[in-house]
Each structure stands twice: as C-alpha cells, then as structure tokens.
C-alpha cells in the first residue's frame, strides 16, 4: 500500500513540476506576481512529494518487500541494514529517484533561501529548476520506474553487488549526486539571467554559494569513490580514468573554474558571458556523465544495467537543455556588458588563465573518454583510451596550474607588477626547491615524479600560508588573522589541500613498493624494511558471505606495528568474490596486505604493498572540501541568502 502511495506521490510530483515550470516562467515574462508566486510553494510541495516517494521505496528495501522488482534484484533478507538502505540507490531506478530527490531539495532550498533575490529572477530560477525536474521525473516514470510490482514475488532477493556493500560506497553516490545535481542550480541561475538579460555583481554573489556547495559535494563524492577503490579493489590503485570516474571529474573541473570566474563577476563585473557559459557547461557535463553511466555506450566498472531506450531518453534531455541554453546564450550573450578594466598582469588575468587550464583539461578528459566511440563510429577502429593517455595528456595542465596558482592568488586586482609579486613569494620558492633537493637526494630510484610532485605540493601549501600572512598587512599583525573573512581561510585550505593531494599522488605513484610471493602459515618475510608474518588463515562466516581471513603481523625491527586481517570474501547469493585488503594507515606510508589463493604446496599467495603518502591524497581532498565549506559560510553569502542582519557590514565588498 505504501509503495502504491509512493508511486502516486511520484506521479503527483511530476504534475507539480510541470506547474512549477510553466506558471512562474509565464509569470516572470508577463510580470504577473500571482503566477510568479506559485514557484515557491510548488517547489516545496514537489520536495515533500518526492521525499515521501523516496521514503516509500526505502521502506520497501528495509522491510525486504520482494513484490517489488527492484528490491528483488538488489536486496536480500540477510544483508546488513546499512546496505539495505544504501541498496535503495545502489541500482539504476533507485538512484534516479535519489537524483530527483536532490534536485527537488535544491529547488526547495532556492525557494527557502532566495527571499531577497528579485522576484522575477527568483521565479525564473525556480521555473528552470522545475523544468529539469519534469524531464527527469518523466525519465523515471516512463523508462525506469522503481515501483514496478512482480506478479509472483520470490522468497528472497538476488542481493546487492558485493562490491557495493561497503560503507565508503554506501555514501559515495549521495554525495556525487548532491554535486551533480547542485550544478543544476547554477544552470538555472545562468538561464534565468539570460532570460532576464542582466548579469551583475549581485548575480555573481547569488550563484557562487550554489557552485561552492556543488563543488564541495563533488569533491567529497569523488574522494570517497577513490578511497573505496584504493582499499576494495585489492591492489591499491586510487584512480583509473574509468569513463564513470571521468564523468564525475569533468563537472568537478568545470565547477572549479566556475567558482573562480564567479568571483570575477562578483568583484569586478567582467567575464560575465564566460561565467554564464561555464555554468551551462558544468551542468551539461553532469548530464553527459549521467548519459555515459546509464546508456551503456561505454562499458565500465560502474555501469548500471542499462538499455538503449534509457540512453536515448537522456540524450534527448541533454539535447533539449544544452541546445536550448546554448541557443539562448548565443542570442543574449552580447547583452552582458563587461565593466571592469584590467591590465595584462592582474588577478583578473590570472583567473582567466585558471579558467583556461581547468576548462581545457576537462575537455581533454572528455575527448579521451568518448574517443573510442568516435573512432569506432567514423573510422571503424576498435581501440581503447586508458590511463597512459590521460596521465600524459592531463597531468601537464595541473602542473602548470600548480606553478601559477600561488602567484595568481596574491596578484592584486586591476594591475600588478609580476616581479614584485613573485618577490613576495621567495620564501615559498626556497622551501619548495629545498624540498625538491632533499627528496631527490634521499630517494633510491632517481625519478623526477616524486621530487617535482612534492616540490609542487610544498609550493602550494607554503604559498597558501604566505597568502594569508600577506593579508595581515606589512607589519604582520597576526591579530588580524582572527578577523579575516572566512572566505580567506577557505581559500587557504582549498589551495593547500590541493597541494597535499598532489604531493600524495606523486609520492604514491613514484615510490610504491610491491611484493608478491607464496607464504606458509608461520613464515615471515621482509619488504622494504618491514618484517611481515603470516600468523594464521581462518575461514569464517559473515552475515551474507563466507570469508577466508588471514592474521598477519607487521614488524619494524622487533617492534610489532600492526596486526592486519586481509580477507577474501565470497558472496554465495551474488556469486561474487571480493578482496578486503588489510591496511595499516600511517602518516608517511600505508602497509597494504592482500591474501590470495591457497597454493599447491599449502602456502598462500600474498601481496604486500608499501604505499608512501597514500593518505595524503584523501587528506588533501578533505582539506579542500573543508575549505570550500568554510568559504560557503562566509558572511557575505550568509547575508546574501537572506539571514537578516543589521547593516553592520563594512561598506562595499570585503577587500580580497
């Protein structure tokens, strides 16, 4: 019964979404206040309806209601509760429902927090947001309905893909969707601004928090996915340039570019049409990502069960929204008059370079991802584009970005002197060069990757710290640090976090030590200064799997550093094995153990990795996300989203 109500609520949400699209947009065009006012309640009602529908599906999963097709295919009575819940979005239909739930969440948030946005702009934003809802609710109802019943319900389900039964992956999709769908807000703002024919500093200020939020969520989502790949796939890789990873990475890069160009709109009233274009593209790449994952045109680790009908539907959505927005853009872009004047050497120019590097690097990823399709369609060549291509074609962009970033951040607006600016950063330069020399001399294998990566990381972190110290003025009055806007601290953390991540990636890639061997129970062996003992191997029964679990001691000299339990699990229902690595996390290195098959001589295949700086990758990601979040809580956005406060704000814009 509840399931039927959930289904009904979804149909109602579809109808409300149509009203939310048509009425406010019509109202804004005809200046009809009553029609415009429909937007907010409609957005709230839509949110409530979809939330109810999502709740109903969750209830079906939690109570293992096997009369529902999607529950049968993705759940099992023995599955732990966490994975019964995460199973809701661990499949195509349910994850689309989560997608529209988040879409409605953002629509509701815009209705709630958008009170001081001019009425017509607000109505248009909510209307456009509603139209995206219409498209995706139609997609769900017509091609991917999660509420389909089975005539003959089976006794038990087929279980969720065991790889997905993991805490890291339980929360990876919701964060990713918050990011993808968050970009729908910036898209709505961009299209609404085009309809209004007006983009000003205020618009830049309204759109930036939504971009920031989307970017923070994408950062966390991508970080979780990469961390999961690291510990779950059994050999410690953290990024595979898989089409679906790329699908999340492209919007992330565009969102990062958009964040920065929105600052220029806000502070200097220039780069307006470019910012609008970026906002459209960022969401466009979210949709492309959705298309790539769901259509099955590119096979990948993540691909949901997919069929061409769905692919065509999403392609249609993509064509309508991108085609419509870009056409509108081509007619209206000329209206957006740039105001601020700046010279070649200035913060504005630095941010233009930032945008060029981020946008082009994202397009490189895009071309690499779709190239196999293109080559097959036009030249009938079946080929692959894998990590070696992306490593070679993408990395240079981020190296250049990292070199320029600390300089760009402290360049003054309008016009600046390059020499004087670089001079201020001499301490950071010296530190980075010193780190490079030090790393070069202590590493055993003479490769450039490690020293350069760590030098760039140091340069970014030191540069970010110097950046904030320079804000305290010539006298280095440290008391001023406490009074700096949170956006400044956000910038410090986001830029510093990027440095930490880059150092981590370089360290891990350059210095991983690997050892493969057969070990008898009771035997010990040495890897890179560690002594490792295979103490025992036991079989045990988990809630819905059978496991072969080893107990292994890790020693440094005579001191025991850790006892690890690498596992090999077998899920009988899903008929799939998984490896659970035993990892000793450390600040400078991870010890990473994997147990394999029993060998003919009674020994066990064991793989050992020493992974230097592994945790820096995700540590840096977390720091970046915290930076974004701090920036999001900056006073000027809290003010902008309508927290009514007396006029205590300093006049004009905070000096930045």
């Amino acid at each position: 019964m509840l399931v039927e109500l959930g289904h009904f609520a979804l149909v109602m949400a579809f109808i409300v979404a149509i009203a939310q699209t048509v009425l406010p947009l019509w109202g804004a065009q005809t200046r009809n206040r009553a029609l415009m006012a429909v937007g907010e309640p409609a957005a709230m009602i839509q949110l409530v309806l979809i939330a109810f529908s999502f709740g109903a599906l969750t209830y079906a999963f939690v109570t293992s209601d096997f009369s529902l097709k999607v529950v049968v295919e993705n759940s099992h009575t023995l599955k732990p509760m966490l994975y019964k819940v995460s199973g809701v979005w661990g499949n195509h239909e349910g994850s689309m429902l989560l997608w529209v739930l988040i879409l409605a969440l953002f629509g509701g948030a815009a209705a709630l927090f958008g009170q001081n946005i001019p009425a017509t702009l607000r109505a248009r934003v909510i209307g456009i947001q509603g139209s995206i809802g219409v498209a995706f609710l139609a997609f769900i109802l017509f091609t991917s309905n999660p509420f389909l019943r089975l005539e003959w319900p089976p006794m038990d389900g087929q279980d969720l893909n065991p790889l997905l039964q993991d805490p890291g992956l339980a929360f990876h999709p919701p964060f990713l969707y918050l990011g993808y769908v968050g970009l729908s807000m910036t898209f709505s703002f961009a299209v609404a601004a085009l309809l209004e024919g007006r983009v000003d500093a205020a618009w830049g200020r309204w759109v930036r928090p939504w971009t920031l939020a989307a970017w923070v969520f994408l950062t966390i989502g991508i970080g979780l996915g990469s961390w999961w790949a690291y510990y779950e796939l059994g050999w410690g890789g953290f990024w595979f340039w898989d089409p679906v990873e790329n699908a999340s990475f492209m919007p992330w890069l565009f969102a990062a570019a958009l964040l920065h160009s929105a600052i220029v709109v806000e502070k200097r009233e220039t780069l307006k049409s470019w910012t609008i274009l970026l906002a459209i593209m960022a969401f466009g790449f979210s949709l492309i990502g959705t298309f790539l994952v769901r259509s099955g045109v590119i096979t990948s680790v993540h691909a949901f069960a997919n069929d061409p009908e769905r692919g065509v539907f999403i392609l249609l959505i993509l064509a309508i929204f991108m085609g419509g927005a870009l056409t509108l853009f081509s007619f209206r872009a000329s209206v957006m008059q740039a105001k601020g004047v700046f010279s070649v050497v200035s913060r504005e120019s630095a941010l233009v370079i930032n945008n060029i590097l981020l946008a082009v690097s994202s397009l490189v990823v895009f071309i690499g991802t779709i190239w196999p399709l293109v080559a097959e369609a036009f030249w009938e060549r079946k080929l692959s584009v894998g990590p070696p291509f992306f490593d070679a074609a993408f990395t240079p962009f981020f190296v250049v970005l990292a070199v320029l970033l600390p300089i760009g951040t402290i360049l003054p607006w309008k016009r600046a002197k390059l020499g004087a600016t670089v001079k201020k950063l001499i301490p950071s330069i010296i530190l980075a060069v010193a780190v490079m020399g030090l790393v070069w001399s202590i590493q055993t294998e003479k490769s450039l990757l490690g020293p350069i990566g760590l030098a760039l990381g140091t340069w970014l972190v030191a540069g970010a710290i110097q950046d904030i110290l320079l804000r305290t003025g010539k006298t280095m009055n440290l008391g001023r640090l406490t009074r700096l806007p949170r956006a400044d601290w956000g910038r410090l953390l986001a830029h510093g976090g990027l440095g930490v991540t880059m150092a981590g990636i370089a360290g891990l890639t350059a210095w991983t030590v690997e050892d493969i061997r057969v070990v008898q129970v009771g035997e010990t062996f040495e890897v890179a200064g560690y002594t490792i003992a295979l103490e025992s191997v036991d079989r045990a029964q988990g809630p819905n799997y059978i496991t072969t679990m080893a107990t292994m001691g890790v020693f440094e000299g005579d001191k025991k550093v850790a006892t690890l339990h690498p596992e090999k699990r077998s899920y009988p229902v899903a008929q799939m094995p998984t490896t659970e690595a035993g990892i000793d996390n450390g600040f400078l290195r991870d010890v990473y153990l994997v147990i394999g098959d029993v060998q003919s001589n009674g020994g066990w295949a064991v793989r050992t990795y020493i992974k230097p700086l592994a945790n820096w990758i995700w540590g840096g990601t977390i720091i970046m996300a915290i930076g974004g979040f701090l920036s999001l809580t900056d006073r000027r956005y809290r003010v902008a989203v309508g927290a009514r406060k007396a006029e205590t704000a300093p006049k004009g814009v905070p000096a930045e």
């Binding site: 080929l383 692959s384 894998g386 070696p388 070679a392 094995p577 098959d597």
Partner: protein, 149 residues
C-alpha cells in the same frame, strides 16, 4: 552483452590475485619489463582494467604470453606488436599515434593554444577600453541595500 556478463561471472567466480607468484620471472629486470608492458595492455574481457591488475583467466594467459615472448628474446616493442597482431589495437591502453588518433593526441595542445589566444585577446582588449561608468549613486545604494538585507 548477456553473454559477456555470463563470461565475466564465470571468470570471476574463481577468485585469484592479479599477478600470481608462480608467474613471476626469475630475472628481476625482465620481470619489471613484463610488468611495464602488462600495464599498457587491456584485459579484453574486463571493464577497463589492464592485464596486470585483472583477475580474469584471459589476463593471466596474456601475462604468461608476454613473459614467454620476453624470455624468447623479444624487445618490449616486439612483444606489444605480437599481442596487437593477435588481439587488435583494442588491447592497447595507450592509443597509438597513427591515423585519426593524431587528432586525439594533439587535441589538448591545440585547444590550449586556441584558448590562450582568445583569452589574451580578451585580456588585452579589457586593458585598452575606457572604464565603463560605475553604477550611478542610486544604483549603488540599491545594491548595498540588497547585499546587506
């Protein structure tokens, strides 16, 4: 597609590690060459995995093949050519620089140069234009009010 999934399920039903201890060559230099080559070759039945990481039987066969060729005295390039002759260029994770693939490889640099030209033209123009009059006083006041509300 169904068939492929079935093959996948059967292949992965017997869990194995990627590189097995008994596959490793005695000569460490040759083994490290084998690893390098393996990382550039795609496991044909897997989803976007190289044969070095893959658990599939086919990947294991290819790993052994690579090592056999190395032991037989082939250079790295000869080994790769040998595999490509049999399995097609689909097996290469790093696309070659032949034919239309040149487009793929030069796309990045070309886009960057174009973007830089457009960007620099824009920047130089912004430097030369006279400053557009800022907001009128009324507008300033209205802006401040909107911002501070």
């Amino acid at each position: 597609m169904k068939y492929l999934l079935l093959v996948l399920a059967l292949l992965t039903a017997t869990p194995t590690l990627a590189v097995q201890p008994d596959e490793v060559l005695q000569d460490p230099a040759m083994e490290s060459r084998a690893r390098d080559i393996s990382q550039g070759l795609r496991c044909l039945v897997c989803r976007n995995e190289n044969i070095d990481e893959s658990n599939a039987e086919l990947a294991k066969d290819l790993r052994l093949l690579v090592r056999e060729r190395l032991v037989a005295g082939d250079t790295n390039d000869e080994v790769v050519d040998y595999v490509v002759d049999r399995y097609g260029e689909f097996v290469l994770l790093k696309p070659t620089l032949t034919g239309a693939n040149k487009l793929l490889w030069i796309a990045g640099p070309v886009m960057l140069i174009l973007a830089l030209i457009i960007g620099l033209t824009f920047i130089r123009r912004r430097g030369k234009e006279p400053e557009v009059a800022d907001l009128t006083e009324d507008e300033e006041a209205r802006l401040a009010r909107l911002m501070n509300d």
